[in-house]
Structures are given as structure tokens and as C-alpha cells.
């Protein structure tokens, strides 16, 4: 559905009177998001994952590289058609509070884009109204209760469902979910993730999941691919469970080691890795970008920058000169060891 080839994006770096330091947000990112599939991007804040999402939704332009939506190269299209094509990619924002206009009711939020859609499909006003009700039902909101409300009366979880319903008004092929559960109450998070999963299976919508929560990525797209971004570069990617269970790149290993262990329910891994330094985004090394923080760096790491190469499993690739697989995530205790509650 979406194919990215060597997407590059650099911010700042203007010369002249008010010169600023350029910051590379994306350095030649390739990935393929198949129809109905899922791709997850994980990484620290500032690794470029948000920029990637914004590029896919047409809110930013790439500096170089190709972005193909449904097999068509966006750059080759005239403005109008590009906008139409990008409409098939919709964003689910991180903050459901600022993603909804406080002055528009739930009905207006849905019916504005639906009216546009109705014109395309040559449908009438009735269709707009029934579709709004249908979409609310699909995302698990009660239309009778919601339709005339303003967003501020809804809870975070309900708002996020509404945001998803709004994205669905244009029948998108792809949903880009950027930290879509970060600001939602924990007891409601899984509900949103389950909804995304349900939309994948029921509507065949592809999901690009951007998060720092690996477990959430796994829940939504366990059958898809996991990409690890570090300072704009994909340092490792592969099938979700392959990357989680035998990560090759030390950065991936550090990320996975940082996941808290549910003591009593999970057995911590024997080995864990932590970076030896904090992120210094101002420093642009000639060699591996992670070398200055890598606990396993060797002398040659600072000299040449590794590119993606194949790991053992098919489709699993990493960009490390001295890879060593480590099992760093906790494993669940056998279900038997966990007695159920009292009757």
C-alpha cells in the first residue's frame, strides 16, 4: 500500500543571516506497508518517527527519496491528485484533546468530511447521517449519546475513538497512529489498540504504528514488521517477534532492555543492555551513529557507518558491524504459576 524508498528529511540548516545547525530527521528510510498489513516504528523521542508519520500524511515534504502510495510515486503527481492520494492516508494523533476542534460537535466533526465524501460518491444527506451513526458504532461509541456533544465532554478514550471514526470518514487505506495511546488512561488503552486491530481485520485498513511502547506495537501488528529508528536511520527491522526475541543491534537491545518487568508475572531476561551515554544529537560522527553510546562498540565502529545487512532469519536485517543476538526481554511465567483469583 505504501512503499518508501530512501526517504530523507533534514530540518533547519539555513545558512545566511540566521544560520542554524541542520538536524537530520530521516536518513534514507526504506519500508513497505502491505495492504491490510501493519508496520511499527519504535525509537526514542527525536529519532524521526513523528516526522515519518507527518510525511506520510502529507504534512511535511521529503527532501529526497520516493514515496509510493498504492504504487504511484507521489512526487510525479500534480498537487491536486497528490492531495487526493494522500487522503487515503489518515493520521490518528497522539493527543486526542487537541485533535478535536472544541467548537465543533461530534456530529459536525463527522459530517463535514462525510459531506465531501457524499459528493464524490453521489450520495445524499441521508447517507451522511446514517454513515456518521454507522462509524460511531464501528468505533464503539453510542451515537444516541454522542452525536450532539462537544468533544470536551468526552473522556480521552472516547475522544480517541472519535478521532479514529473521523479518519474513517474518507475510507482510508492506511491509518498512521502516532503514539495514539500515550495520553489515554491505562485501563482504556488496550481498548484503542484492540479497535485498531479490529479495523485491520474487518476493514482491511493498513496500520502504521509509531510508538515507544514495543508491547503495544506487538499487540496491534504482531504479524507485521518492526522497524527500529535511531537518529533517523533504520538500524534494525524484521518480523515483530523475531526482532523482539532475538534483537541484533545493540540499540534495539537497549530499547528492549528498558521495558519494565512485571515482577511476579514475568521472568526477567538474564542479560540486559543500557547505553553508556545520553543522546547527543548535535554530534555527527563519520561512523556508526550509535557508537558513542554503544556498550559494545569497537574501534572500527567510529570509522565507518554500517548499512542494513541480513540477519539469520529471513527478512530480519540490522545495521551493526559487530552484531550479537541477545535475549533481553522478560518471558512470561507459565500460566499455571499464576493462580486465578478466588471464585
Amino acid at each position: 500500500m505504501i512503499e518508501a524508498r530512501g526517504i530523507t528529511k533534514t530540518f533547519g540548516g539555513r545558512g545566511g543571516l540566521l544560520g542554524t545547525q541542520p538536524v537530520a530527521a530521516l536518513r534514507g528510510v526504506d519500508f513497505v506497508l502491505p495492504s491490510g498489513g501493519a508496520v511499527s516504528f519504535i525509537g526514542e523521542s527525536g529519532c524521526g518517527k513523528t516526522t515519518l508519520g507527518r510525511i506520510l500524511c502529507g504534512m511535511e515534504q521529503v527532501d529526497s527519496g520516493q514515496l509510493l502510495v498504492g504504487g504511484t510515486d507521489l512526487a510525479r503527481l500534480p498537487q491536486r491528485e497528490r492531495a487526493a492520494l494522500l487522503r487515503r492516508v489518515q493520521m490518528v494523533h497522539q493527543d486526542p484533546y487537541s485533535a478535536l476542534n472544541p467548537t465543533r460537535t461530534v456530529r459536525q466533526v463527522l459530517e463535514d468530511p462525510l459531506a465531501l465524501r457524499a459528493r464524490q460518491l453521489r450520495r445524499g444527506r441521508d447517507w451522511v447521517e446514517s454513515r456518521a451513526v454507522e462509524l460511531l458504532g464501528l468505533v464503539g461509541l453510542d451515537p444516541a449519546y454522542c452525536l450532539s456533544l462537544y468533544p470536551h465532554t468526552l473522556s480521552g478514550g472516547m475522544r480517541q475513538r472519535l478521532v479514529i471514526a473521523r479518519a474513517l470518514t474518507v475510507d482510508p487505506d492506511v491509518l498512521v497512529a502516532d503514539e495514539a495511546i500515550a495520553m489515554i488512561d491505562v485501563s482504556l488503552r488496550l481498548g484503542i489498540l484492540a479497535l485498531l486491530r479490529q479495523l485491520r481485520s474487518e476493514l482491511g485498513v493498513s496500520v502504521l504504528f509509531i510508538t515507544h511502547d514495543v508491547a503495544a506495537a506487538r499487540y496491534v501488528g504482531a504479524d507485521g514488521q518492526l522497524y527500529v529508528l535511531y537518529r533517523g536511520q533504520v538500524v534494525e527491522h524484521g518480523p515483530v517477534d523475531a526482532v523482539i526475541s532475538s534483537p541484533m543491534h545493540p540499540y534495539t537491545q537497549c530499547l528492549l532492555s528498558a521495558i519494565p518487568v512485571l515482577r511476579g508475572l514475568e521472568e526477567p531476561a538474564a542479560e540486559q543492555l543500557m547505553p553508556i551515554a545520553g543522546l547527543d544529537a548535535g554530534h555527527e560522527p563519520p561512523g556508526c551513529l550509535f557508537a558513542d553510546r554503544c556498550p559494545n562498540a569497537e574501534d572500527d565502529c567510529a570509522l565507518s557507518r554500517p548499512t542494513l545487512r541480513d540477519a539469520k532469519e529471513p527478512g530480519h536485517r540490522h545495521a551493526c558491524l559487530h552484531p550479537r543476538p541477545r535475549q533481553v526481554v522478560a518471558v512470561p511465567l507459565a500460566p499455571d504459576a499464576r493462580p486465578s483469583g478466588p471464585p
Partner: protein, 351 residues
């Protein structure tokens, strides 16, 4: 297994030299913009004068001809007054006007019998600048401190009275202040002199009685400036303090048990910062107000001169005054912007 110490992180503080270079660039860019603006205002003035009803330049030329002056001499005289020769095409006249402007030549006044406009403007300037600045300082100090009180006490009576007083003072126009003060303190309660910037019986110069009479006569105008801008400062400071009081660090300072005085200092400094830019920007507003205040108190400043020039149709003097006032405002803007980078560490870095 957790490591014994967390990974160390680097603190990036702006290095000295690069910072100065950035500041220099910023200042350069601002000055450049300012020069462009001055030129634009000059252009505006030129075309305004040119669209004056009955074309004053042509009228002046005709008057001279009628008085029996030869056409070439008349043209020369007109050129001397306005800085451009009327018979040439507009674009040439404009070019000449701007060229004279770059040499600080604003032409000659019509009413003041051929006195260069630059001299007249410069001699009027101190009569405006000194009272304006004094009034500004008085109102700023008063408004800012009372504004802080009004914000801190915003729930009780004192705060409400203060902020209503601020709105009221802010709302009342300058000429009303001037007339009220003049009527109250020179007619109903005649404790201040009226109608002259100093006692005409004293000899002008550096002598005690003269300076004393200057100060004495300046009290009412300064008071008028101060009263008309006090309310604005109070309101701005109040809303700035209210905003800062909602910031997280203020609650944090309280919950860490900092002294009330320290907390107040934290709030005051953060609230004060945005006002600093406004302080210099308000110079423009005050200069505008000089028109009314000087007119009421017969104070021979720029505003008084401007109004008289307009009434007497002395266009060279009028455009000279207007240009000077605008340049002063632009200069204050640049100064404000530049100084701000020094007092706010955040801008200092981002500059």
C-alpha cells in the same frame, strides 16, 4: 541487573563566541529592516505631501510668481523649501527628495521664514523626549508594581479595585487627562503655571531659577503622560503575573518551601520580561500622545510643532516632524528587540 550509575549526559550551553556572532547578525538584520522602514515612511510622506489638496508646492510656486519672482528663482526657492523641484517628473522629484533625506536635509520651513526643518525639529525634540521619558518611567514603575499587587490579590477587594482603576485609567484618552489636569490645577486650584514651558521672567540658561521653573512647569505634562499610560502598565503586568502564577515552576517553588520573597522574585522577573519589550514600544504611543498634551499645555515639542505645521499648511515642517517621530519609534523597536536578547537566556540561545 541495573548499572551502578546511570549513563552520563552532556549539557550543551551556548559557547561565548558563537553567541556574540549570532547577536551581531541579529542586530544587523534588525537595523537593516529599520532602515528599509524609514525609507518606506519617507516615501509615504513624500506621496502624502504630493496629494495634498491644491498641491501645496504648485500653490507656493504660483504665489511666488504672483509676487513677481522670476520663474527660475521661484522654482529654486520652492526647491529649497520642499527639497525637490516641482517642474520635474514625479519620479525625479522623489529621487531628489530621498537624496536630500540621506544628507539629513528636510527642506526649509515655510512659516519660520526659511529656517531649515532639521534645526526646528531638533530644537523641538527635547521638549517632547524629556517629559515623555519621565512620564514613562513614573507610570511604568507605578503600573508594574501595582499590577503585580493586583494579580497576587486578584481575588480580594484591593486587587479588584486596582484592576478596575487600571482599566479606567487606560481607557481615558490622553487629551481628557490633559484638559482635566490643566483645568483642575491651573484654573480651579491655581497651583501650577499655565501656558508656558517655563517662567518667562527668568533668563533661559543654566541658572537655578530657570531650571526650577522648567521643572515646575513640566510637572503637569509629565503627570498627564504618566496617568494616561499607568493603566496600561497595570493591566499588562497583572495579566502577565497571572499567566506566570499558573506556570508549573511557581507551584514547585512554593512546594519546595522557598521563601515567599524568593517566590515573588521568581514570579516578578518572569512576568516582567514580556513587559520590557512593550516598554520601548510604548514610546511610540507616548510620542503620539504628545500631540494632545503639548497642545493643551502650550509645550513647544514635536507634537505641538506638528499640529501647528498642519494648521499652517507648513508641509516641509509637517513631514519633517512626522518622519522624526517615526524614526524614533523604529529606533526604540530595534533597541527593545536587541536588549531583550540580553535579559532572556532562552532567546539568548535561540537567537
Amino acid at each position: 541487573m541495573s548499572p551502578d550509575s546511570p549513563p552520563s549526559v552532556k549539557v550543551t550551553t551556548g559557547s561565548g563566541k558563537a553567541r556574540w556572532a549570532r547577536l551581531g547578525r541579529r542586530l544587523g538584520a534588525r537595523v537593516l529592516t529599520g532602515v528599509v522602514m524609514v525609507l518606506a515612511v519617507a516615501t509615504l510622506t513624500f506621496f502624502l505631501v504630493h496629494s495634498m489638496p491644491g498641491n501645496p508646492i504648485q500653490t507656493e510656486y504660483q504665489t511666488l510668481i504672483a509676487r513677481g519672482v522670476s520663474p527660475s528663482l521661484a522654482a529654486q526657492q520652492v526647491a529649497g523649501m520642499y527639497g525637490f523641484v516641482s517642474s520635474k517628473p514625479l519620479i525625479d522629484q522623489y529621487g531628489q527628495y530621498m537624496w536630500h533625506l540621506l544628507q539629513f536635509n528636510l527642506g526649509k520651513s515655510i512659516t519660520a521664514s526659511g529656517e531649515p526643518v532639521v534645526h526646528l525639529v531638533l530644537s523641538a525634540a527635547p521638549w517632547t523626549i524629556i517629559p515623555v521619558l519621565s512620564g514613562l518611567i513614573v507610570s511604568f514603575l507605578l503600573g508594574v508594581s501595582l499590577g503585580a499587587v493586583a494579580a497576587v490579590r486578584r481575588t480580594n477587594r484591593l486587587g479588584k479595585v486596582l484592576s478596575v482603576s487600571g482599566s479606567l485609567f487606560h481607557g481615558v484618552p490622553q487629551f481628557v487627562w490633559a484638559v482635566m489636569l490643566a483645568y483642575l490645577f491651573t484654573t480651579l486650584l491655581p497651583i501650577f503655571p499655565f501656558g508656558s514651558p517655563y517662567n518667562i521672567l527668568d533668563t533661559p540658561g543654566w541658572n537655578g531659577p530657570f531650571i526650577l521653573s522648567l521643572v515646575y512647569s513640566a510637572i503637569l505634562p509629565v503627570l498627564a503622560y504618566a496617568l494616561s499610560s499607568y493603566g496600561g502598565w497595570l493591566l499588562t503586568m497583572r495579566s502577565s503575573v497571572v499567566t506566570v502564577l499558573g506556570d508549573d515552576f511557581v507551584l514547585a517553588a512554593e512546594l519546595r518551601g522557598l521563601r515567599p520573597l524568593t517566590q515573588l522574585r521568581y514570579v516578578a522577573r518572569n512576568a516582567f520580561l514580556p513587559l520590557f519589550t512593550t516598554l520601548l514600544l510604548s514610546v511610540g504611543f507616548m510620542f503620539g500622545g504628545s500631540i494632545f498634551i503639548e497642545e493643551v499645555f502650550d509645550y513647544p515639542g514635536l507634537g505641538y510643532q506638528l499640529v501647528n505645521a498642519v494648521n499652517a499648511r507648513d508641509y516641509p515642517l509637517m513631514s519633517g516632524d512626522f518622519l522624526f517621530i517615526t524614526v524614533a519609534v523604529i529606533a526604540a523597536n530595534i533597541l527593545a528587540d536587541f536588549l531583550y536578547t540580553f535579559i532572556d537566556p532562552r532567546v539568548r540561545k535561540a537567537a
